[in-house]
């Protein structure tokens, strides 16, 4: 008989918990500009180092360096900077609105604004977006009015979702922003299906989707990658690795074993790992993957390496599970500060213009808030109760007609809840 070592269960645990000093010392951050930029039609077999490296363009001084440095017109960069700032201001104000009872729930994207904003700008307006709940920056970068978003958050009479959805679960067909689901990950294979449809029809529009590091464990991640690979679907599959899934660090999703970008290897599609707080790197990687998709070379998995600086949501208090000041120590810095530094370094921006822009976006949020509040906030204004029966089906079948009649009759009787 062989000597029998008792087996042990390994349970991953983050290096630091509340009370410990915040510290990311073990983390290796490759220097900016280190990776080559292969052509976007390069076979996957030549791309297998990318999941283990990190595409970074902005160096510590704010210069764009290396082969991945994209050629972005300055107005687009400034637009990106402003959209990130507006997203942050919007998030801050909406979190406050939740604390004030104007809405039941809110989710911020603080610290990871570059992901949604740079990717929205690197894609075409006709490309279809299948986001999770933390890509509000996509809507903002596509110039969708924030007052409309606020009406959804407030579930007021002007809420385009008629009070039906949890706040932040937007749907905006006008800007090709799909309906956000509360069920994690379901949008990933849907995006693949949309992209397959586009290919079936000989269209030119591609799709993109986003999930979090934690959500990679869901079945839909695997389904999306399998179908995307098999049919070479023109789609960008983005994993926003913000290190946390509510209270679970990314090691619980497998982040200790490999990078999330490395998952792509097994499906034979390229996996890019990108500094998610580097606007230029995110833009460049997105552009590369979009080019690949548009020229019928199929899907790319992009891991956006970032940090969830805020709480998971307004229902969460991260100080219960991670060091309170961890965000401040995040080695990849803040995406807004880094793009600002770059623009100043290139002479396209200044502290003064930045300050003015921040005031402007704050003001934009205030004006929109006043407009939304005039319509109403949670409970003070709401869609007509009878509307809840609409859109369950395209037409109201008899059992729902009867139920609606009953509801309305009970309302008349004062027999609500």
């Amino acid at each position: 008989m062989r000597s029998a070592t008792p087996l042990r269960l390994h349970v991953p645990e983050p290096k630091h918990r509340p009370g410990d000093p915040a510290d990311f010392e073990g983390m290796t951050i490759p220097p900016a500009g280190a990776l080559p930029r292969p052509d976007s039609d390069t076979p996957e077999s030549e791309l297998r180092a990318f999941p283990y490296g990190m595409i970074r363009v902005l160096d510590d001084s704010g210069s764009a360096v290396g082969a991945w440095a994209p050629d972005i017109p300055t107005p687009v960069l400034i637009k990106g900077l402003r959209a990130m700032a507006l997203t942050r201001a919007f998030d801050d104000r909406m979190q406050r609105a939740q604390r004030q009872g104007k809405t039941s729930f809110y989710i911020k994207s603080t610290g990871e604004e570059a992901v949604a904003v740079a990717q929205a700008l690197a894609l075409d307006p006709g490309d279809m977006l299948f986001p999770s709940y933390r890509q509000q920056g996509l809507l903002i970068a596509r110039d969708w009015p924030i007052v409309d978003m606020m009406c959804q958050l407030f579930s007021n009479a002007a809420d385009r979702l008629k009070g039906r959805q949890l706040p932040v679960m937007y749907s905006v067909r006008e800007v090709n922003f799909f309906s956000i689901s509360g069920n994690l990950g379901t949008q990933f294979p849907q995006a693949v299906g949309w992209a397959m449809a586009s290919a079936i029809k000989g269209d030119t529009r591609i799709a993109a989707s986003w999930i979090g590091d934690g959500t990679t464990a869901e079945a839909d991640f695997h389904h999306a990658l399998t179908f995307a690979a098999v049919y070479r679907a023109p789609v960008l599959l983005n994993v926003v690795n913000n290190q946390w899934a509510i209270s679970s660090f990314q090691g619980i999703a497998g982040g200790e074993c490999a990078t999330f970008a490395a998952r792509a290897i097994g499906y034979g599609i390229p996996g890019l790992r990108v500094d998610g707080n580097d606007f230029l790197a995110v833009y460049a990687a997105t552009q590369w993957a979009a080019e690949r998709a548009r020229s019928n070379h199929g899907a790319t998995l992009i891991e956006l390496y970032t940090y969830r600086a805020a709480a998971h949501s307004t229902s969460d208090d991260p100080s219960a599970y991670r060091p309170g000041d961890e965000a401040a120590h995040w080695p990849l810095g803040d995406p807004i500060a880094r793009l600002k530094q770059h623009l100043i370094a290139t002479g396209a921006w200044s502290e003064e213009r930045h300050k003015a822009m921040l005031e402007q976006v704050d003001n934009e949020v205030k004006v929109a808030l006043r407009a939304a509040e005039r319509i109403g906030t949670l409970g003070s204004s709401k869609p007509d109760p009878g509307t809840m029966f609409d859109d369950v089906f395209k037409e109201l079948p008899i059992h729902l007609r009867r139920q609606r009649e009953q509801l309305l009759a009970e309302k008349l009787d004062g027999k609500g809840a």
Binding site: L161, Q190, G193, K201, A219, D391, V392, P397, I398, H399
Partner: protein
């Protein structure tokens, strides 16, 4: 008019809709080159090409997830889940997504997809090739659920399902594919040939979802059934001598409340028959609903004749299957309270 069995009628429904509408696409496990393990998609890939009819990875969740995305794009996906027993891996995409998309986006997005899936037992398929899970889907708001009992209805309902803008679960009782099986498993197999409802037009026609069919008018008791059980109930009516009105519901959700209520109010009695397990099955809803709407007309308890609350047992399937003897007994019991 041609004589078609169920498979041919179902194949024809897809053929007709694919011909009329470029946006109809068909996919699923083994449905492409091979034409499906039950041959329902035979010939379609050859006719419409590999990008409109194709094999998929074995991932029911992925099939539904991608179908929803295609539906949102504007296609009309018709997907096959190889056996109804294998629809569960797709449950989240069906329930949380297909069923909810139109409502949660307030009409901005929807998923006009059809899920075809063979259901039911009586083929020695054992517990994982025999299930009838319709009762799980009729509880999910936002889904339509359909089950035909003959070739004519199968084609008309499937065309209606494909052309419907809501997600439709289309269950095909596999025991009926080749003939109108009435539960007498010990008698020679019947084929569809010669059956009136096997005369199927070659072209396009629809049977509205939500309309039942009175397959046997009668006065003494209303029998609510669908799928294979329609033929079992017809046999039971003959054999029991009870003048039963047999209603083939065809569409379970939406269901034809008016036809059901009118019949039970007239007969005063009701027997509900399905092959699925009893507790919490679709029969429970029918019973509750009939009782609510027709209480003052009822002259006897509503009865349910169903599969037992066990997995479908391979070698004991004829002890499990709710056959004509059990239905006839229920019909007679119901009449005893006259």
């Amino acid at each position: 008019m041609a004589t078609m069995n169920m498979i041919q009628a179902i194949n024809s429904a897809m053929d007709v809709t694919m011909q009329r509408d470029d946006n109809v696409v068909v996919f699923g496990e083994d449905v492409g080159y091979f034409g499906g393990v039950f041959r329902a998609t035979a010939g379609l890939q050859k006719k419409y090409g590999r990008t409109r009819v194709f094999d998929t990875p074995i991932a029911e969740g992925g099939i539904l997830g991608t179908a929803i995305g295609m539906g949102a794009y504007g296609l009309r996906p018709v997907v096959e889940v190889q056996f109804a027993d294998y629809i569960y891996p797709a449950f989240d995409q069906l329930v949380s997504e297909a069923a909810r998309l139109r409502h949660r986006s307030a009409g901005q997005y929807w998923a006009p997809l059809t899920v075809r899936s063979p259901c039911g037992g009586g083929i020695f398929g054992g517990q994982t090739h025999s299930q009838s899970p319709e009762g799980i889907f009729t509880h999910v708001c936002g889904l339509k659920t359909v089950m035909p009992s003959n070739p004519y209805d199968a084609k008309g309902l499937l065309i209606a399902a494909i052309e419907d803008d809501d997600p439709v679960i289309f269950f095909e009782p596999k025991r009926l594919y080749n003939g109108p099986f009435d539960g007498h498993h010990d008698r020679p197999l019947k084929s569809w040939a010669g059956h009136a409802l096997a005369e199927v037009p070659e072209g396009h026609y629809r049977i509205e979802l939500g309309k039942a069919s009175i397959v046997r008018p009668g006065n003494e008791v209303t029998v609510l059934c669908y799928g294979t059980m329609v033929h079992v109930c017809l046999a039971a009516a003959e054999e029991s001598g009870v003048d039963a009105e047999v209603i083939d519901l065809r569409s379970l959700l939406p269901v034809d409340l008016e036809t059901i209520e009118a019949s039970v109010k007239r007969t005063g009695r009701c027997v509900i028959v399905h092959e699925a397990t009893r507790t919490g099955g679709y029969g429970a809803e029918l019973s509750a609903m009939v009782q609510e709407q027709c209480f003052w007309h009822l002259e006897a308890p509503i009865e349910r004749v169903t599969g037992w609350d066990t997995p479908y047992p391979h070698a004991l399937e004829w002890d499990y299957f709710p056959g004509p003897a059990r239905v006839a007994a229920a019909l007679k019991r119901t009449m005893e309270t006259a």
